[in-house]
């Protein structure tokens, strides 16, 4: 087990470092952020001064190593536009994205697991067909179409705040999070429902379920206790990875609803070619994904001894 964890950890660190190098090279390939472009003319001496200020006059490997070193001290650099600390910008929007991710996960787990259980237990019933149709639609229709639909028809009504939001109107976070969370949750709920249905059906065929029924347990106990525990494992995996993805910023959903999270910040930074912020967010997204999938792997090995052996 220890060996497995260590191997997984080394792999995660390797992926993070390699990915950060890729992003770094990618940003370099984007071009000089201080060059004159269009009508904006930047005098050469100003360009040189800016480059020196941001350490961009040094060689590329040197810049990367410095950046890597600074990450460990929590220094993510200063943004090009307003000279703010990137780490502060990130921590300012991170709680919003965290709330959005957790709200979306909460919604999709509740809907997905319930729908999956119902579909599996009453297989081929009306509800099973209903769930199948709904999940097919939810997976087939792109998230951003769902987002646009909610934006066009639901925002501004009842408890759902108007988008784009006005800075004179105070909206509590739990109202603001609703529509983007629903938008994100619909696809995931459909995937979870399918996973849950599939694994539940498989578990229900197992011998120990027959044993449980044979010894006279109520159907409720059989499903709720015995079958549920073993069939939820794939869902746990899915949810873990999903959190990792959502933390990296749901760029489309957050942009549609102008939700002040990591994804929206990334969108704005990409527009402005604000490289330090792009770098920080993309690397953060990679770390979030890698760390969570590592945790999921370890958790999985912990929950299911069969995996540890291989």
């Amino acid at each position: 087990m220890v060996k497995f964890v260590v191997r997984r950890l080394v792999q995660a660190i390797f992926v993070i470092i390699a990915a950060s190098l890729l992003v770094f090279l990618g940003l370099f390939a984007l071009g000089d952020p201080f060059a004159s472009s269009g009508e904006k003319v930047v005098p050469p001496d100003v360009q040189a001064a800016l480059r020196a200020k941001y350490g961009m006059d040094q060689s590329l490997p040197m810049q990367y190593l410095t950046y890597l070193g600074n990450i460990f001290t929590g220094d993510l650099g200063i943004d090009f536009r307003q000279r703010r600390e990137v780490s502060e910008m990130l921590t300012a929007v991170l709680p919003n994205t965290l709330r959005l991710a957790l709200a979306a996960i909460l919604i999709d787990v509740i809907i997905g697991v319930l729908a999956g259980i119902i579909a599996a237990v009453w297989r081929y019933s009306f509800w099973d067909v209903f769930v199948t149709i709904l999940t097919t639609l939810a997976i087939g229709i792109p998230t951003f179409v769902i987002g646009i639909f909610l934006l066009a028809n639901v925002s501004g009504i009842w408890i759902f705040p108007v988008v784009p939001r006005s800075f004179t109107v105070e909206v509590p976070w739990y109202q603001e999070v609703l529509l983007p969370a629903f938008t994100l949750a619909i696809v995931d709920a459909a995937f979870i429902a399918r996973l849950m249905r599939g694994s539940m059906l498989e578990v229900l065929r197992a011998d120990y379920i027959r044993t449980a029924r044979a010894k006279g347990l109520s159907e409720r106990a059989v499903i709720g206790k015995h079958a549920f525990r073993n069939s939820i494992i794939p869902v746990v995996t899915y949810v873990g990875i999903s959190i990792g993805v959502l933390l990296g910023g749901a760029i489309i959903t957050e942009t549609i609803f102008q939700y002040n999270g990591v994804g929206f910040l990334l969108f704005n930074s990409i527009r402005n070619n604000n490289q330090p912020v792009i770098m920080a967010i993309v690397v953060f997204g990679v770390i979030a994904y890698v760390v969570l999938s590592m945790i999921v792997d370890i958790l999985y090995a912990f929950l299911d001894p069969r995996i540890r052996l291989s």
Partner: protein, 319 residues
């Protein structure tokens, strides 16, 4: 291929997971007539199973219609899809403009048809590129194993760690906004999944008895991979390809919606929605986003239905 915010944010690997290879069809080598008959029977079997799935038939219909639109788009469009007329913007649907005109005064119906062609070209190119690279690397990694396997798999790890859309945005920004940049970006982000799929297939088939038999009669590695392993790995790859086309369509639309990738004057589906977003909350302007949104949704659903149908018909064991 899941797309931050856009296409399904995560496509769980379980759902794309390598499916079991179909039973190795005993196809006597050199015996062309027998082999032919076996093949024809096989296709008839597949079609018979495919027909049973009504949604798959609907999907096939959609895909055919999309293909026809994509091929004959220049003849079908009543107006020049790119011609702007700022004196005639946001006209509601009428006999003259079936879907109305968009925020730039272009005929929306022509724009949607043009967008179909664009979506088909881009998604097909992406899938073909990703499959060629992915299958080659995956097959080599799976068959050779050892160092090459580690190298390819760790590389896919790195690529898969990137949020799909965000990675694609970075690549597009490097190449500059153009249709080609979108194709390259999506293919770069998509190949690792097909490489893993192929590797899993090859790993499973490599140890099978019929491959061992081929090896024992002295078939070369290239021959074993091309003649014996690839044909049996076709089913999951084909299913994956159809799924990926839908994902690529959504990814391109998502990028364009954010104003990245396809140039602004192209009537691309995501662009059309993005350009309409300022006015879509005004009552009566729904048609500005509903038509492109419908086009995207019908396309993705159509390809998903076909993929589902293929999953059932190519490999009955999976049911």
């Amino acid at each position: 291929m899941s797309v931050g915010g856009g296409a399904p944010e995560v496509v769980p690997e379980q759902l794309l997971a390598p499916t079991q290879p179909p039973e190795a069809v005993a196809e006597p080598e050199g015996g062309a007539p027998t082999g032919d008959r076996v093949k024809r029977g096989q296709f008839r079997d597949i079609w018979r199973r495919y027909k049973r799935n009504k949604l798959a038939l609907v999907g096939l219909g959609i895909v055919i219609v999309l293909a026809v639109i994509a091929i004959f788009e220049p003849i079908l469009t009543p107006y020049d899809p790119k011609e702007q007329n700022l004196l005639n913007t946001q006209q509601p649907p009428s006999g003259e403009h079936w879907f109305g005109t968009d925020v730039l005064g272009r005929d929306l119906f022509s724009g949607i048809l043009y967008g179909t062609r664009l979506a088909m070209i881009v998604s097909l190119s992406v899938v073909i590129l990703a499959l060629v690279v992915g299958i080659t690397l995956g097959a080599i990694a799976g068959y050779r194993g050892k160092f090459i396997d580690t190298l390819v798999m760790r590389t896919t790890d790195i690529f898969l760690a990137f949020p799909f859309l965000i990675g694609a945005i970075l690549v597009v920004r490097i190449f500059g906004d153009s249709v080609q940049a979108v194709i390259i970006a999506l293919a770069i982000l998509a190949w690792p999944t097909s490489a893993r799929l192929m590797r899993g297939q090859v790993l499973a088939l490599r140890e099978s008895e019929y491959v061992e038999a081929a090896r024992s009669i002295g078939a070369s590695d290239t021959r074993i991979v091309l003649r014996h392993i690839l044909p049996n790995a076709v089913a999951p790859v084909l299913i994956y390809a159809f799924t990926s086309i839908g994902v690529a369509v959504v990814a391109m639309a998502s990028l364009a919606f954010l104003g990245i990738g396809v140039p602004a004057d192209e009537p691309e589906w995501g662009r059309l929605i993005g350009q309409a977003i300022q006015v879509i909350q005004i009552p009566g302007k729904d048609y500005l986003w509903i038509f492109p949104a419908l086009a995207i949704s019908i396309t993705t659903l159509g390809f998903a239905f076909v993929a589902d149908g293929l999953r059932d018909s190519l490999d009955p064991k999976l049911r």
